[in-house]
């Protein structure tokens, strides 16, 4: 791809960026008025009853009062775990929804600001050195955010606590990370669900980073309930957990269903690099959008995302659960 073509694409992307922020997440079909979890949300809280679908082709906008856009976060890498492939456009992608080819409306890349929600385990097992590592990793991540990005912090022991709501000012988030301490049991499932809700409270592109070195011992919600919610959401979850004899089944399933990734680390001393790696990888993902056509409105939609004429690895969520309210 030439530099000029890339520049044009970038400009086009920037143009549609604001509209993207207003575009409702459509894994589930809602008549929505967003409830703000934060006062500093850069996205105006609007009553979005039947949001128009934004088309890449601005001259021929497509509107729908019944069907809304589906957006899919896609990571494209060289085969065998190579580096991310950049510069792809809508025509490069092929999306099958329940086996039915779809018209890709819009592909964004990198320039869309992120909503990074940190969901951190603060149970007994995190106290001490691990907590120091976690604070350091959190601070490094916040330092790597760009202008326009937002961050939020949810901590959990048996308590689920909003450390800081979504904000473009990382200072309160950093302060909240500095003041946390580890004690209590582990409500990983409840905490993750709360983080997902923050991700859904804003129309931005949400990355949920969940760190836990334990297993759930005190949540009310079942893992299945949160996996079900994840199937209706377009929040992408990355999980980081300490390696042990126990398989982190919940985080494994959750990251798989949302198109994210699970990191099982040997030592939390490497947590900083892991967090920064996640952010870097997420920035290199494409946001692919389409308006479902020729498929049933409700129920499970199996997604198959491919890149035309390229031998690459594509990582995206395997499907979504659509539901009419």
């Amino acid at each position: 791809m030439t530099r000029t073509r890339r520049k044009q694409r970038t400009q086009k992307t920037q143009k549609t960026q604001r509209m993207w922020c207003l575009c409702v997440s459509v894994a589930a079909f809602f008549s929505v008025s967003f409830v703000p979890l934060v006062s500093l949300s850069r996205v105006p809280i609007v009553s979005l009853s039947r949001v128009p679908i934004v088309s890449l082709s601005q001259s021929q906008p497509s509107f729908s009062s019944k069907v809304e856009a589906v957006r899919v976060d896609v990571l494209v890498t060289e085969r065998d775990g190579g580096s991310a492939i950049l510069g792809l456009g809508p025509s490069d992608f092929e999306v099958l929804d329940n086996g039915v080819p779809q018209q890709v409306d819009l592909v964004s890349f990198e320039q869309i600001p992120l909503n990074v929600i940190l969901v951190l385990d603060m149970s007994d097992s995190v106290a001490g050195e691990r907590l120091d590592h976690l604070r350091g990793a959190g601070a490094a991540l916040l330092g790597a955010l760009k202008k326009g990005d937002q961050a939020a912090l949810v901590t959990f022991s048996h308590l689920v606590v909003l450390g800081a709501g979504l904000t473009g000012d990382v200072e309160p988030v950093a302060t909240a990370i500095d003041t946390v301490s580890g004690s209590g049991d582990t409500a990983l499932v409840d905490g993750t669900y709360a983080g997902m809700m923050i991700g859904e409270s804003d129309a931005g592109r949400a990355l949920l980073i969940v760190f836990s070195d334990g297993v759930d011992t005190s949540s009310w919600l079942s893992p299945d309930a949160v996996l079900d919610a994840a199937k209706r959401s377009d929040v992408v979850v990355y999980g980081v957990t300490a390696r042990s004899r126990l398989k982190p089944e919940f985080l494994h399933d959750l990251t798989s269903f949302t198109g994210g990734r699970l990191f099982e680390i040997e030592k939390t001393a490497n947590l900083r690099a892991t967090f920064l790696g996640i952010l870097d990888e997420f920035r290199h993902r494409y946001l692919v959008s389409y308006t479902p056509r020729g498929v049933a409105k409700d129920g499970w939609h199996r997604l198959d995302v491919r890149v035309r004429n390229r031998r690459v690895t594509v990582k995206a969520r395997p499907g979504y659960l659509a539901q009419t309210p």
Partner: protein, 505 residues
């Protein structure tokens, strides 16, 4: 959250004792059977069962004199210990090693049998790791000493056999005092002085002087009972070690309790034994030190007791929870060992059966009905669960139980597709405990499930609006796994009261 414990223990057994629940229960009671009198079948502790007269018996190691000295010190500690007090007697017994306690189990068993029949002369032991018993060989001098101690322990020093061996002349002042106290109890119709106080001593040691560190697992089983303990922290970190056998000694001595007028031991007819099992089992659950052998023995003795059945159900329900299941999956057990814990569904099925039986015996047991309802929901029987929970809520006059009832009812109604009923139940739970996050998380999830994202966000905002200070947050769901035993301290106090100074004889 003061009632919360980050650690718990689950007792382990050699795998041949836990092949199945029922088999595990039965064999668990046969650990280390003392068979007296060679080929004469021994009625086991009032169970009416007979142990096989294994013959010929392999000879055991000669018994060291220190073991006889220890049982004498034990008898003195039993006499001097004030139930519930952290006194010298309790500290002395608490300082004994696992090995000391394992052999003490044998000698106490022998002394107790000699209390009932001072003329017995042959004893054998069958450790839980062996199929055949091993003969315990005492020298004549050792056996004579044991008989004298039994004469004191039974308060039978004036009986012909004790007189014949001149037992009184070999006893010091402490043992003569014991003899007097035991004899006085006999005159009042209770020949179980040492048994009751011995059980209280060992349960107090287990309760009041918990060991911070466990012994490593011994490669070769010692004679006498052996218990391994798995400690689980935060559902993931586990530690396996050898546990002291205080509870085994306490259960063993109570097996010999003979109610007034009975010809043979019959602990199932004794109110104090029942009280001891319910109080100690409740305490174990309160501190999450689960021991299914304890309740298994309680059920053998009191098969239709609603409290024993209720606590049994609670134990199996706790075993089904992630905090124990995950620890068990993380455990690296020695070869040949397995846990007496089934899959979550298997544990829930057992819990359901216990709660159902408790309710058959005592239909107005509200807490059993509440937990029965929850377990039914866990087994996917949501309509039955909802009906049971509604009945429990209607009968409950305890805010805590009404909270649980509504929380679980909400879950059952949600699964039945009754959105409004589920929301109402969750809201009622939230109203009872405004600081509780679980009903709010449930409301959020309910709304999300039905596509009501604003409703989901509003509910989760209510969670975020709660205090971040753990001391100001109170969600009874966090302590549900121990809530059934919230009266454990009161039960223990009630158990000890008749044995404390100043109590009416």
């Amino acid at each position: 959250m003061s009632a919360r414990r980050a650690r718990m223990s689950v007792l382990l057994l050699p795998s041949n004792d836990v092949r199945s629940t029922m088999r595990g229960v039965w064999l668990a009671c046969c650990l280390c059977v003392i068979v007296a009198g060679g080929h004469a079948p021994l009625a086991m502790a009032g169970q009416g069962r007979s142990a096989s007269p294994f013959r010929p018996l392999p000879p055991g190691e000669p018994v060291a004199d220190a073991r006889i000295d220890r049982v004498e010190r034990w008898l003195k500690a039993v006499t001097l210990h004030e139930p519930g007090a952290d006194d010298d007697a309790l500290r002395e017994v608490g300082s004994w090693s696992n090995r000391d306690l394992q052999t003490l189990w044998i000698e106490v068993n022998v002394v107790v049998q000699l209390m009932r029949n001072p003329r017995k002369g042959i004893f054998s032991v069958r450790p839980d790791s062996q199929r055949a018993p091993t003969e315990i060989r005492y020298t004549a001098r050792q056996l004579g000493r044991l008989v004298a101690l039994a004469c004191a322990a039974g308060g039978i020093i004036a009986e012909p056999h004790c007189v014949d061996i001149k037992a009184a002349t070999s006893l010091d002042a402490d043992l003569m005092r014991l003899s007097g106290l035991a004899g006085a109890a006999r005159l009042r119709g209770d020949g179980n002085y040492v048994l009751r106080r011995g059980a209280l001593l060992h349960s107090d040691v287990a309760i009041l002087t918990p060991r911070s560190a466990m012994d490593p697992v011994s490669p070769s089983p010692l004679p006498g009972p052996q218990r391994l303990r798995l400690e689980i922290s935060d559902g993931r970190d586990v530690d396996l070690g050898q546990d002291a056998v205080h509870w085994d000694i306490a259960r063993m001595v109570l097996d010999y309790v003979k109610p007034s007028g009975a010809d043979a031991p019959a602990p199932g007819r004794d109110a104090m034994v029942r009280q001891w099992y319910t109080a100690t089992a409740a305490w174990m659950q309160h501190v999450e030190q689960h021991d299914h052998l304890h309740l298994a023995r309680a059920r053998e003795i009191f098969p239709a007791d609603p409290e024993v059945l209720f606590l049994s159900g609670c134990q199996r329900e706790a075993y089904a929870a992630p905090r124990i299941q995950s620890g068990i999956r993380a455990a690296d057990l020695p070869a040949g060992m397995s846990l007496g814990v089934a899959s979550p569904r298997g544990e829930l099925r057992q819990a359901e059966a216990f709660f159902r039986r408790a309710l058959e015996v005592k239909p107005d047991h509200v807490e059993a009905r509440l937990r029965h309802g929850r377990v039914l929901g866990g087994l996917g029987r949501h309509a039955d669960a909802a009906a049971e929970l509604r009945q429990a809520i209607a009968s409950a006059d305890d805010t805590l139980l009404v909270y649980y009832g509504n929380l679980f009812l909400g879950a059952a109604e949600e699964e039945l597709g009754h959105r409004d009923a589920a929301r109402l139940a969750y809201e009622q739970a939230a109203a009872l405990y405004p600081d509780a996050q679980s009903p709010l998380v449930a409301l959020s999830r309910l709304a999300r499930r039905y596509g009501d994202r604003p409703g989901a966000l509003r509910a989760i905002q209510r969670v975020f609006a709660l205090s971040s200070d753990a001391n100001e947050r109170n969600d009874p769901w966090w302590t549900y796994n121990v809530a059934q035993a919230r009266n454990a301290d009161a039960l223990l106090e009630e158990l000890r009261r008749p044995f404390q100074p100043g109590a009416a004889p």
